[in-house]
């Protein structure tokens, strides 16, 4: 005789339960089995110090990055290439153009790109330890990048890239301070 499984009842939103019931039916599973699977996954995710909501959000942002044509490369190689490049102006222009294109891509893909920008920056700029974004009445935006252990050149191209994105989103740069490991940027809405 199979071992009896101890069960407990949980309270959930009825609209969610209805959808869950449909999925269970489609997958030929019992609601009990499906609920257990989800709880097991939720526990696994919590072991990564994340909630399932945060995990999905992170996953969606990474997908957005990849779909836009971003690639993952070793930072060591990028740095070597940047240092070997002898025309700095041209290099800066390439990153700015890439940023402008990405800004337009965000406009095409999202209803309100500004809303998603802070989490998008934190998710995709792995070389920075902190990205802060402050919006004042949707007309002024302050962005701070903190990366004490990152080479200056990487911060500079990131600033150009962000500048390009903000320009595509209708903002112009009004302040740009880059000191060792820190960049403070201010943007105002273009008139």
């Amino acid at each position: 005789m199979p071992e009896k499984i101890e069960k407990k009842l949980l309270v959930v939103r009825s609209d969610i339960l209805e959808k869950l019931y449909e999925i269970a039916k489609r997958e030929n599973k019992t609601l009990f089995a499906l609920t257990n699977e989800i709880l097991q996954d939720a526990i696994k995710v919590s072991e990564m110090n994340k909630t399932i909501g945060e995990l999905l959000n992170f996953h969606n942002l990474i997908k957005l990055q990849k779909d836009s044509g971003a690639i993952i490369v070793p930072s060591e190689i990028l740095l070597k290439a940047l240092k070997n490049w002898n025309n700095k102006e041209e290099m800066i222009k390439a990153w700015r153009l890439a940023g402008e294109w990405y800004g337009k891509y965000l406009i095409a893909k999202l209803e309100n790109p500004l809303e998603i920008l802070p989490s998008l920056f934190s998710t995709s700029f792995w070389h920075l330890s902190e990205v802060k974004m402050n919006m004042k009445n949707n007309d002024k935006i302050n962005i701070s990048l903190i990366a004490p252990n990152t080479e200056q050149i990487l911060i500079e191209i990131t600033v150009e890239y962000i500048d390009g994105i903000m320009s595509a989103l209708g903002f112009q740069n009004t302040k740009c301070d880059i000191i060792r490991g820190v960049a403070i940027l201010e943007f105002s809405k273009k008139i």
Binding site: R13, I16, H59, V73, W85
Partner: protein, 191 residues
């Protein structure tokens, strides 16, 4: 908001209850968030397990010193530089991180590489061959990818017996075991 009851395994319910206590949230909110995220993932033909797996691979790449860059900007700065050795080293480092995180089976390694290199690149790894197909890539980028693959697979104790790269296709003949792979690993990590 209407509420209903759903049954689940008692041990899992207890763990969720502990999580709720630790995070200062209610069980109701944690549970609804988990179930809702599961439904959203299903709508995108994903399941939480594969999302979790993909995010873990991305986190491994991040730990191994990789970063996101716009492909177009990367291509423009990389020019005629030859970074094949760096890609190979980086592949070995990524392989090492995969190994530490419990990746051992070839199909899991293949999945991790696809996640990093790009889903539009068709990669198949078997015990004696690696095939990588992506007609849109320039030969220089394909060479870099081949070196990265070589680095990863060497880390898992394979020797590369031969490598052919032509018009969007890489074919690498590999063999498990022997001293060459071990020597290669030593050499790369000491350099």
């Amino acid at each position: 908001m209407k509420r209903k009851f759903v049954a689940a395994r008692a041990d899992l319910v207890e763990k969720i209850s502990e999580l709720a206590k630790k995070s200062g949230r209610t069980m109701f909110s944690i549970l609804n968030e988990a179930l809702d995220a599961f439904i959203k993932a299903k709508e995108k033909n994903k399941d939480l397990y594969s999302v979790l797996e993909e995010v873990s691979i991305i986190e491994i790449a991040r730990s191994a010193g990789m970063i996101f860059v716009p492909e177009v900007a990367y291509d423009s700065i990389i020019g005629n530089n030859n970074f094949e050795d760096y890609w190979k080293n980086s592949g070995q480092l990524f392989g090492k991180y995969l190994e530490i995180n419990g990746f051992k089976e070839l199909k899991d390694i293949e999945k991790a590489i696809k996640e990093i290199i790009g889903e539009d690149i068709d990669i198949t790894i078997s015990n004696n061959k690696i095939v990588c197909i992506c007609p849109r890539l320039m030969e220089s980028r394909l060479r870099d990818i081949a070196s990265f693959l070589e680095g990863v697979i060497t880390n898992f104790g394979f020797n590369v017996l031969g490598k052919e790269i032509s018009k969007g296709i890489v074919v690498m003949r590999i063999k498990k075991g022997g001293n060459i792979a071990r020597e290669n690993r030593k050499e790369t990590f000491s350099s």
